[in-house]
């Protein structure tokens, strides 16, 4: 079964140094390698900051494009994983191990249909 891990975090800009970020990325890469080895890894991504977001919607045929994210909140969606796990307990264990849990909240959601 596939689960999506949605990583909600505060804005790190001005809060952490480049060296800290580099050290952190190393830990994430090591964790990703472990997930690949264990057959849990499907895909991961880090998102651009919310101020780079553009929203589109179509209502009764009329297209509208607006600047900014869908919802303004202090914590925003910063990245995601799609993983393969046998049940929620295994998915939670994988989410728990993410280095990001030290500063972010990870939402674990089952994926009903995964198109590839």
């Amino acid at each position: 079964m596939h689960y999506m891990l949605l990583i909600y975090q505060g804005d790190p800009r001005g809060q952490v140094s480049d060296a800290e970020i580099a050290a952190f990325m190393k830990r994430i890469e090591a964790y990703n390698d472990q997930l690949k080895k264990d057959g849990h890894f499907v895909v991961t991504g880090g998102l651009g900051f919310p101020d780079t977001a553009t929203c589109v919607t179509r209502r009764s045929g009329k297209l509208s494009t607006t600047d900014g994210p869908f919802a303004e909140t202090r914590e925003y969606l910063g990245g995601f994983y799609v993983i393969e796990a046998k049940d929620l307990d295994q998915a939670l264990k994988i989410a728990n191990g993410l280095p990001m849990t030290e500063f972010a909240t990870v939402e674990v959601r089952p994926i009903n249909h995964l198109g590839t």
Binding site: M1, K86, D87, L88, D89, L92, K93, V108, R109, P110, N112
Partner: protein, 412 residues
Amino acid sequence: MSQRTDRDAIEAVYRTESGRVLATLIRLLGSFDLAEEALHDAFMAAADQWPRDGTPANPRAWLVSAGRFKAIDRLRRRARLDAAGDDIAMQIEAAAEPPEDPAAIADDQLRLIFTCCHPALSPDAQVALTLREVCGLTTEEIARAFLTATPTIAQRIVRAKAKIRDARIPYEVPEKDALPDRLDAVLRVVYLVFNEGYAASGGDKFIRADLSAEAIRLGRLLVELLPDAEALGLLALMLLQDSRRNARLSSEGDIVLLADQDRGLWNRGEIDEGITLAARAMRAREIGAYALQAAIAAAHATATTDAATDWRRIVALYDLLMHADPSPIVALNRAVAVAMRDGPAAGLAAIDALMADGTLDDFHLAHSARADLLRRLLRVAEARAAYERAAALAIHPAERRFYDRRRAQLSG
């Protein structure tokens, strides 16, 4: 055999076996809803066949097997409308025959408890689901006990079952590394159910006593299924608290303090069992918070009069509890025990030190404890003000009446 005894026999089997049969059917069928329907069908079949053919030698195995066949049958009939049903029916048929092994059935009950108390479900949902699925209470009974509308409870249970299915919450006893945390969550649900039934007022008194009885039954089941000192400690604590049920309220429904209770009304059977269990829990390598609370309750239960209470031992146990599970409420209880050991002035100093940072300011029991010590120190005006504050903060009418009465009794 008369029809009456037939029905009695089936009802007796229902009371003792339905929980176990349901737990096994959920594992075999992989669905709460399907298992509940199958359980119902199995008992309908029993009511039809047992009076004619006699009660089977192993009613539990018969019911599991009948429930499984009925579920396959149901899915086959549904398959005519929906192709998915047939796949599930084939999967269930292909799976192994239900085991007769008693250990596997005990595991099914544990699986059910751990799934119902899974931290991915909201605390309210954990309680409702445990009472519904493990204890077999009806939705109406749960609603009445919690003073909640039946549709609210029904919706809570439907949502929880949908999350178990859709997010795939496993039907398993947690792995060893996760077990202590997950067991804590289960014990918390059991104690919450007990306290809901033990609270001084609100709701139907008799239904609430049933809730406490269900919590004790769950506690016994856990002790039987898992060798764990905290499960023992919780069962001991519940039994010792429940032993005072008939003494803690007057015939008018007013609160009677521990010191003033008629100890002849305490339930000796529950006390003896509670003391034995508490002692076992205290012999564990790591002594937990429930075991310590049970040991404190046991120290009260063994005192033949209030004056004979061993306050030195009780303060020492609170010291350990402050180490195992520190909280402002434990600190408050410790201060009250200090007052009993060393006198009201020492106790008041301890409570005032605790209340200095304001965390206990909205807690009525802190003000009532202060009021009682001020009363004993003959500081009447301050005692009166403290009782007023306690009454203003009290939640239950019985508590408010108690504080008003104490305040009225102050002389001068």
